[in-house]
Amino acid sequence: MKRVAYIFGIGVVVIAIGVLVLGGDDKKRSPIWDYMPRAISAVFGPKPVKEFAMIDHNMQSVTHETYTGKYLLTFFGYTYCPDVCPTGLSDISQALDILGPNAEKIIPVFVTVDPNRDTPEILKEYLENFHPKFVGLTGTKAQIDTLAKIYKARYVKMKTEDDDPGTYYMGHTSTIFLTGPDQQLITSYNRDVKPEAMALSLKSILLR
C-alpha cells in the first residue's frame, strides 16, 4: 500500500514536471517556467529546439539548424518603418562595431513582419545600410508567425488613414533578442538600450 502511494506520488511529481518542461498552450503555462528554465534544463537536459524555416536576403533557405553554434541578435521589423527599425538596426550595428573581434560569433538578424513588401531583394538593399553581417529573413506569413511565436514576438498591420493601399504601417515587438549556440534565449534588450551598454552586456555573455 505504502509502495503504491510512493510510486503514485513520484508519478504525479514527474507528470507535473513534465508538463512544466514540455510546456503546453502558451497562455496556460506556469509562471515558474519563466524563472526556472536553466534549472530545469540542467536537471532534465536541454529544451527542445523549436524549428523554423525562412528565406534569407540572398534567397537561400535557412532553418533553425543554419546558425548552430552562433549567437543570434534578432530584431523584428519592416523596411518601410521610418523610425524604430532604422534606429534598432543602427544600434545593433554600433554595438557590434564596439565589440570588434568579440563579435565574431554573433550574427545580427532582421526578420521582416511585412513579407508583402519586403522581398529578399528589398531586404538585401536595405541591410546594406547597416552592419555587413546582417542577415535578412522573410517567408510566408505562416513561417514568419512560427518564428515570431518562438520569440514570443508579435506584430500587427495597422490601419492607415491614407487612401493609398501601398502605404501601411506595422506595429511590432521592438525588443532585440539574443539567443545562444544552443538556440535558446539568453536575454533581450529593449530598444532604448544604448549601443555601448548592449556591447558591454554582449561581451560579458560571450566571455562567460
Binding site: 521610418p82 504601417y169 532604448d192
Partner: protein
C-alpha cells in the same frame, strides 16, 4: 604663388566644413532655440520618412508647444510619438509637443518625431529640405533639415561609409 595656396586652402576648408555638415544650424525664435533639425534617408521604395530635432530649448517663463509642421517634401507631415501597447511598438499621431519653460524637448529616434508621409521623392543622405515649424506662442519658423544616412546613430557620429570591413 602664396596667393594660389591661400585660395586653395580656403576652398579646401570651405569644402571640408560643408561636407561635415557643420552648417547644422541652430535657430532662435522668441524664447525658443531650435537645434539641428535632421532626417533619415528613406529606405528604397518606402514613401515614409522620419525627421527629428536634436533639441528645442525654452528659455522663457511660459510653456510653448509645437502644434504643427508643414513642408512640401511629403503629402502629409505630422508629429508622432512611439508607444508600446501590449508589447507592440506603434506610432501615434500627436497634436502638440510641449516645450516647458526652462526645459528642452527632443524629437529623436524612438521618441517624438516628425513623420513625412507620402514622400514625393526618396530622401537621400546629403540633401536638405525646408520644414515650417508652428509654435503656439512663438509663431512660425522655416528650418532647413539635413538628411543623414539611414543608419545614422542617435548621436549622428558614426558614418558607416568611412568604415572598412
Amino acid at each position: 604663388m602664396t596667393h594660389k595656396i591661400l585660395l586653395n586652402t580656403l576652398f579646401a576648408s570651405a569644402f571640408l566644413l560643408a561636407s561635415n555638415g557643420v552648417f547644422a544650424k541652430d535657430y532662435q525664435l522668441g524664447d525658443l532655440k531650435i537645434s539641428s533639425p535632421w532626417a533619415r534617408a528613406s529606405a528604397g521604395p518606402a514613401k515614409t520618412g522620419a525627421a527629428y530635432i536634436v533639441k528645442i530649448s525654452n528659455t522663457g517663463a511660459k510653456m510653448d508647444r509645437l502644434i504643427g509642421v508643414a513642408g512640401s517634401i511629403a503629402k502629409r507631415v505630422e508629429t508622432h510619438n512611439n508607444i508600446i501597447e501590449n508589447g507592440i511598438a506603434k506610432m501615434r499621431h500627436v497634436n502638440a509637443i510641449d516645450v516647458h519653460p526652462g526645459h528642452a524637448t527632443s524629437l529623436k529616434p524612438g521618441g517624438y518625431h516628425i513623420m513625412l508621409m507620402g514622400l514625393k521623392a526618396p530622401l537621400k543622405a546629403g540633401q536638405t529640405f525646408p520644414l515650417t515649424l508652428s509654435f503656439e506662442k512663438a509663431g512660425e519658423i522655416e528650418v532647413t533639415v539635413e538628411v543623414k544616412k539611414i543608419g545614422a546613430g542617435r548621436k549622428m557620429k558614426m558614418d558607416r561609409s568611412k568604415m572598412k570591413h
